[in-house]
C-alpha cells in the first residue's frame, strides 16, 4: 500500500491517543489517519473509538434514513466517521432494495417509525430509469417528453408524499450519466439522445425540488464526474453485490452526504480565520518586504490570488473573515491596505489579530470579540505546526488541512464542508461589512492607548552605529535594497560610502534595533551633510521590518540632536517619490517639517532647530 509507513505512524498515533484518552489528540490524528488510509477499517475504528463530546462542543445527534436502489452500506461507516470528526453522531437506517415507494406511501412503515431528521434517496440511473440507461435515446421529441415525465413524476410523488408526512430534510440524488452513451458519438448527433434525456430529467428534478422547503438535490452526476466515471464504478461489485461504488470512492460518496449533514446539524463554521504569510501571499512580509512577496496574476503569486478569490466566495456565503498572523502589524497592514494586487482588504475582515501572541489565544479572543463559540471558528494556515498546535489546544476549531502545494489551497478551502449553507439570507451576505465597520469604529476609539501599549510591549532598544569596516557592507547594501521607507532612494556603493566617511562635511550612521523577539541588526541608515548652518538629510532609510514602530521618529530626534550639537539652525530633506516609497511620504509632514519647495522630482522639507525639537519616543530605549 502506498505510503504505508505514514499510515502505520498515523494509526499508531491515533491508537496511542485512544489509549491516553486524549480527545484532542484522537481527533487530530483521526483526521490524518482517515485521509491517509481511507478504508472501511479506518472508518469503523473511528466510529468505534472517537469520543463525540469536547469541552466546548456538545455532540449533535441526527437520524438518517437511506431509501435506496443499491447497496449503500459500505459508504455508511465513512459517513458516520466523518460526521463524528465534526461532533455529529449519526444513527443510520437503510430501507429495502427498490422498496422506497412502498416505504414512503405506507404510513406504518419503518421509515416513519424511525422518525428521521434526514432522508436520503439514493438511487442510480439504471434502477430509476432503466429505459434511459439501457436504451439508445433514439426517440422523437414527443416520446422524449413522455419518457422524461415517466421518470420524474414518480420521484416528485415520492417527494410530495414525504414532504406531507415528515419534517425531515430530504436529499434526492439525481441521475448520473453513463461512462459512454450507448449510441457512442451518434448520441450527440441527436436532439434527444441518451445524455440529453438524462440532463432533461435532472433539470426537471431540480426545478421540482425548488418548490418544496427542505428538499435538496444531491448532484450525483457531478459527484461521479468529479472523481471520474471510469474510476467510480466497480462493475463486478455491482453485479455480485449490487454495490456499484468502487472501494476507493466510497469516502467521496460519504463526503458528499456530509456536505448536507453538517449544515443540517447546525455544525458550521461562522468565522474563517486566515493566516497571512505564505497563505494570503507567498513569502514573508517581514523578510521579503511588500515588493518581495508573491501575489498577483503571475505564478506563483497567482496561486495565492486564487486562494483570496476562494476566501471571498466563502465570505459571500455569510461566513465572517478574520486574520490571525504572527507579524509586525504595520508591515502586514501595509500590504493589506496598499498592495495593488491584493483582493482582500482590511474592510473584509471582522477581526484582526496581527501580533506575536500565541495563535490559540488569538482565536479565543476572536471568538469572544465576534460573539461566537470557539466551535464556530475555522482556521486556515499554511504552517502544519500552527495547525497541529490549534488541533491539540482547541480541538473544537475546524482546522483546514491545506496540502503542501499552494496550487491546491483554493480547491481545498472551497471543498470544505464546514462552509456549506443550504439557505442564505440578505443579512448573511451583509454580515461581514457590518462587523468590519464596527471593528473600525472600535479601533479608532482605542487605537492610541493600544498602539502605545503595543510599542511598549516590543521592548525596543536602539543603537546608533558608525560606518566601520564591519558595518560598511550592510549600510551600503541598505541604500541599494531599501525601497519603501526611503526618502531619496539614492543608491551608494561601498566605495562611495567609504569616501563620504573621509569627508568632514558628511555625518553617516546606521541604526540597530533590538526588541524582545531578537536582534533585528542594522535596519536603517542616515547620511547627513552639513552645509553652512543647515543639515541636509541626503539619505534617510529604514528597512520595512521595523516600519510602523516609531523608529523613524527616534531617528529624526537623533538628527535634531546632531544638528543642535553642530550649531545648525535647520534641517532640510528631500522626499523624492518613487513607485514604492509611498510609506515614506508622510514622515516629514507628520514630524512637523514644512514644505519649502516642490518640483517634478519631489518636495523639499524644512524643520527649524530653534523651536521645539522632535522627541525620542519614550518606548524606545
Amino acid at each position: 500500500m502506498k505510503g504505508s509507513i505514514e499510515i502505520s505512524e498515523a494509526k499508531a498515533a491515533y491508537t496511542k491517543a485512544v489509549a491516553d484518552k486524549n480527545a484532542a489528540a484522537m481527533l487530530a490524528h483521526a483526521h490524518t489517519f482517515l485521509s491517509l488510509s481511507p478504508t472501511l477499517g479506518t472508518a469503523q475504528q473511528i466510529v468505534n473509538t472517537l469520543p463525540l463530546d469536547l469541552p466546548d462542543r456538545a455532540a449533535v445527534r441526527r437520524k438518517v434514513a437511506f431509501l435506496r436502489s443499491y447497496t449503500v452500506e459500505p459508504s455508511i461507516p465513512f459517513l458516520r466517521a466523518l460526521a463524528r470528526l465534526h461532533g455529529v453522531d449519526l444513527t443510520v437506517k437503510v430501507g429495502d432494495f427498490n422498496s422506497y415507494a412502498q416505504e414512503v406511501i405506507d404510513p406504518a412503515s419503518w421509515l416513519y417509525q424511525f422518525n428521521p431528521d434526514i432522508v436520503i434517496l439514493a438511487s442510480q440511473t439504471r434502477d430509476v430509469a432503466p429505459d434511459l440507461w439501457y436504451g439508445s435515446g433514439d426517440v422523437s421529441p414527443e416520446e422524449a417528453e413522455s419518457l422524461v415525465s415517466s421518470i420524474v413524476s414518480p420521484l416528485v410523488s415520492i417527494i410530495d408524499c414525504l414532504r406531507s408526512r415528515t419534517s425531515a430534510s430530504l436529499i434526492i440524488q439525481n441521475l448520473e450519466q453513463p461512462e459512454i452513451p450507448n449510441a457512442g458519438l451518434l448520441d450527440s448527433r441527436r436532439k434527444t439522445g441518451q445524455e440529453e434525456l438524462i440532463k432533461m430529467v435532472n433539470r426537471r428534478l431540480s426545478l421540482a425540488a425548488l418548490k418544496y422547503d427542505g428538499v435538496y438535490i444531491l448532484d450525483y452526476d457531478a459527484l461521479v464526474a468529479r472523481h471520474g466515471r471510469e474510476r467510480w464504478t466497480d462493475e463486478r461489485k455491482w453485479l455480485t453485490s449490487r454495490s456499484p461504488v468502487a472501494a476507493n470512492c466510497l469516502i467521496f460518496a460519504a463526503r458528499e452526504y456530509l456536505r448536507f449533514v453538517l449544515p443540517l446539524s447546525g455544525r458550521l463554521s461562522k468565522v474563517l480565520v486566515v493566516d497571512l504569510d505564505n497563505t494570503l501571499w507567498g513569502g514573508i512580509i517581514g523578510e521579503d518586504g511588500p515588493a518581495g512577496i508573491k501575489i498577483g496574476p503571475e505564478y506563483p503569486g497567482a496561486t495565492y490570488l486564487s486562494l483570496q478569490r476562494a476566501i471571498l466566495k466563502i465570505a459571500d456565503r455569510g461566513v465572517l473573515l478574520a486574520i490571525c498572523s504572527k507579524n509586525n502589524l504595520a508591515d502586514a497592514l501595509e500590504v493589506l491596505e496598499n498592495h495593488p494586487e491584493m483582493l482582500l482588504r482590511p474592510k473584509h475582515f471582522a477581526a484582526i489579530r496581527i501580533n506575536w501572541i500565541d495563535k490559540a489565544q488569538n482565536l479565543r479572543d476572536i471568538a469572544a470579540e465576534l460573539n461566537v463559540g470557539i466551535d464556530s471558528i475555522a482556521f486556515l494556515d499554511d504552517n502544519p505546526v500552527e495547525r497541529q498546535r490549534i488541533k491539540l489546544e482547541l480541538p473544537e476549531v475546524s482546522v483546514i488541512d491545506l496540502p503542501a502545494d499552494p496550487a491546491g489551497y483554493a480547491s481545498t478551502l472551497l471543498s470544505s464542508p464546514v462552509f456549506e449553507r443550504l439557505t442564505i439570507t440578505a443579512e448573511d451576505r451583509a454580515r461581514g461589512s457590518y462587523y468590519s465597520a464596527q471593528r473600525e469604529r472600535k479601533s479608532s476609539e482605542s487605537s492610541a492607548g493600544s498602539l502605545e501599549d503595543f510599542y511598549r510591549s516590543l521592548e525596543m532598544k536602539s543603537e546608533i552605529v558608525a560606518v566601520t569596516p564591519t558595518t560598511l557592507a550592510r549600510i551600503a547594501q541598505l541604500t541599494q535594497k531599501t525601497n519603501q521607507l526611503n526618502m531619496t532612494t539614492k543608491r551608494y556603493t561601498e566605495s562611495e560610502v567609504q569616501a563620504m566617511t573621509r569627508d568632514p562635511a558628511w555625518n553617516l550612521f546606521g541604526i540597530k534595533i533590538v526588541d524582545k523577539f531578537g536582534d533585528n541588526g542594522i535596519v536603517g541608515a542616515v547620511f547627513l551633510k552639513v552645509v553652512g548652518d543647515t543639515i541636509d538629510i541626503d539619505t534617510f532609510l529604514l528597512s520595512c521590518r521595523v516600519i510602523g514602530r516609531t523608529v523613524e521618529t527616534m531617528i529624526l530626534s537623533r538628527v535634531c540632536d546632531i544638528g543642535v550639537a553642530a550649531g545648525c539652525s535647520k534641517l532640510i530633506g528631500w522626499f523624492l517619490p518613487t513607485k514604492k516609497n509611498e510609506p515614506a511620504a508622510k514622515i516629514y509632514p507628520d514630524s512637523g517639517f514644512s514644505k519649502i519647495e516642490e518640483n517634478e522630482s519631489g518636495s523639499l522639507w524644512q524643520l527649524s532647530l530653534r523651536g521645539e525639537l522632535i522627541k525620542k519616543p519614550e518606548w524606545i530605549a
Binding site: L40, E73, P74, S243
Partner: protein
C-alpha cells in the same frame, strides 16, 4: 506468518467490533453476528484496499474464517 495473522485479526476486530483478544485463527463468520452477508462485502472491500488486491467473487464468498483469509492473503500478496 504471525504478523499477517495479527493484521487479519485486527481487521476482523475493527470491522465487526469484536475484541481482538477473543479471536483465533479458527474464528469464523458463524461465530460473529456482524459478519453476515453485508459484513462479507465490507470485509472483501477492506481486504482489497488494505492489501491492494482484487478478490474474484467466487473466491471472496469462501473467505469465511480467519485462517482462510490469512491463507488467501499469503498466496495473493
Amino acid at each position: 506468518m504471525p504478523q499477517r495473522l495479527d493484521r487479519v485479526k485486527q481487521i476482523i476486530s475493527t470491522l465487526f467490533n469484536v475484541d481482538e483478544g477473543s479471536l483465533t485463527s479458527t474464528s469464523a463468520a458463524k461465530d460473529i453476528p456482524a459478519w453476515d452477508s453485508m459484513g462479507q462485502l465490507m470485509l472483501i472491500l477492506e481486504l482489497e484496499q488494505q492489501f491492494d488486491i482484487q478478490i474474484p467473487p467466487e473466491r471472496g464468498e469462501k473467505l469465511t474464517s480467519i485462517s482462510e483469509i490469512v491463507d488467501f492473503v499469503e498466496e495473493s500478496v
